[in-house]
Point group: C2
Amino acid sequence: MTRLNDNFLKLRAGYLFPEIARRVEAFSVAHPQLAPRIVRAGIGDVTEPLPAVAISALHRAVDDLGRRETFHGYGPPTGLLSVRQAIAEGDFRSRGIAVDDDEIFLSDGSKPDCSAVLEILGCGNTVAVTDPVYPVYVDTNVMAGNTGAARAEGGYEGIVAIPTSAATAFAAEPPEQRVDVVYLCSPNNPTGTVLSRAALERWVEWARRHESIILFDAAYEAFIRDGSLPRSIFEIAGARECAMEFRSFSKNGGFTGLRCGYTVLPKSLQARAADGSRHALHALWTRRWSTCSNGVSYPVQRAAESLYTAPGRAQTRQLIDFYLGNAALLLAACEGLGMRAFGGVNAPYVWVECPAGVSSWQAFDALLTQGQLVVTPGAGFGRCGEGYFRISAFNSRANAEEAGRRLAVLTAATAATR
Amino acid sequence: MTRLNDNFLKLRAGYLFPEIARRVEAFSVAHPQLAPRIVRAGIGDVTEPLPAVAISALHRAVDDLGRRETFHGYGPPTGLLSVRQAIAEGDFRSRGIAVDDDEIFLSDGSKPDCSAVLEILGCGNTVAVTDPVYPVYVDTNVMAGNTGAARAEGGYEGIVAIPTSAATAFAAEPPEQRVDVVYLCSPNNPTGTVLSRAALERWVEWARRHESIILFDAAYEAFIRDGSLPRSIFEIAGARECAMEFRSFSKNGGFTGLRCGYTVLPKSLQARAADGSRHALHALWTRRWSTCSNGVSYPVQRAAESLYTAPGRAQTRQLIDFYLGNAALLLAACEGLGMRAFGGVNAPYVWVECPAGVSSWQAFDALLTQGQLVVTPGAGFGRCGEGYFRISAFNSRANAEEAGRRLAVLTAATAATR
């Protein structure tokens, strides 16, 4: 009989967000009168309409597809040249960062990219993640066979978890040991922590010394407003030899439903074959895209391109300003309630400490059942996430304000049990 | 140093279509005065505008994204329920084929699906392909580690090639030996052969006997106009226990630039774990989509859905009629020139025998340099493709007619050398 990929059987039941959806659904069914009151601040999903430039670009591109003279069929697997140019120029070269057009690879989002990159890396590399962590990094490595079995206490055998804690505001430092691949996310999902230039320099120095590769997830870079903080790992000297970067239009352009992102893979990034020879990963990534994809939807690419025009920049900035306003408001609400919170500045996530003795799933359940507020329990992001929960600033202003108020059920519940 | 996926290094240089593009580009640069004359009938890419229903659906969906009240962010990873319903009902249940809504998985195309399916299958399964074959099946298996090294005479160690030939009009029969996974494509790319109901019954019986899995690529099913020919493998009793099907909107809806397809994975399809236990692949495929994807672009899903309305059906039928008209015309041209040809009926590809003693790349070069006609050389599809070339009916009527005329350079050249 045909063999299945046994690694899937190692996965713990339920990816985090489906489990949250299940609990919310169960609550709604049990309490239909409260269901309409639910405020969702769990998944980091945008709520505001697409920027006007993107809407216009989409309509124009759709019209292109409706006329024989302007019709577009298969595009280049790695993206339209003009779009790659707009990105390389707009996000990098105009900011003094050397990135070639053909080092940009368009995709239908960062989540697929995080998974696909494992196709070009060898099975058996030692992989490190910071803890707490976006679960996709871990689960895709489980599926790809880079881990052992699930551990009773959380995590998987063979994956190196780099613990972070409130003591360092959840900023990760390079581990003592050598690992082959490390995922860094800054601004961080879920903690909202942004790595400083000095911290990123230590990471790059460490990766070059160990000949490791940093997979740098910059999906939230647009939220960085502090000019001293790096928005790309390629702002750090030497990163072109040790890093690959993941970018998304999901948050800056509101493209979560439209689907577009990109990776930056410098031609100078190498890895080793079994015989010890060194090869540019760029060639493998290009081949991967040629063989496994026909590129991103044409109208979606045109929409992404439109964000790089002057009005596009202004409109995305406005969108980000709006969500940053929500984040500030949530952070203030936490402070007002005497709750300790991280992130929320230069980042769309607020990372809140649970009241003493309350676990993150208990906090989740209390907020859902008593406050009809959906957050993301920190334990879903790893062992170091226990005792915290994430609130997303991706919401309407009214919902963000309401979420801020409803957090009070947690402090009230704690006070009541005293 | 980080290890790369060594399997990529086994791949022969250049996927077929980039190699064709390279030669066409080189010719255009060398002969700029002839470049505008080039007629492309190589890649199977549509040329006609999208159906009007799809254009309207796209515009409406874009407007949805422009307003807060109708905005859509992340969708379900396997597709909007209403779209899955429209597909299951429209393509299957209305034709008497039992397929549940949740057995439909939307994707951004068949090419990505063909690659992604290997993620849920175990590494080391014995894989068979028919020869000639769509190169993506082979190359993705090389990348996934299911093959050995490239063979000097073509193909890769460890992949079973099931030869087909003119003697059976390129219809494949089940092999003697047991294999774990077999790819079948009907209507076939590149030969245009459609498997009969009796042939598919033999395949299903064979797969059930060996507990093998058939990956059935039905991307071109819309071209089948002969009611006696099966358009889905699930028309065959027992297929739900041994098959998975790949479908695409690229050809019936002209979505090559828009990107949408789907897989059908019955909940009754099982595979074996290392410990011998049997598991439904449906659960693994669902998990794969939840973890690695955020679904298909919202406007694109709405466009796919629109094809199932009454006007949508009429408009796609008209599109297919148009391309079938091109195919008939190309087939007639071959016959007029005394060239032996296959396919072109119930299929968008015409598979043409090269003149005696002319290899498929020689025919390609002759047609390009003397006739400025781009076809696809059969050798690019496998050893049994040598001595043939594929002409695509995806073209404007004028180009299809012109392609038919220009084929004459081959017979003229052959006559001249006699």
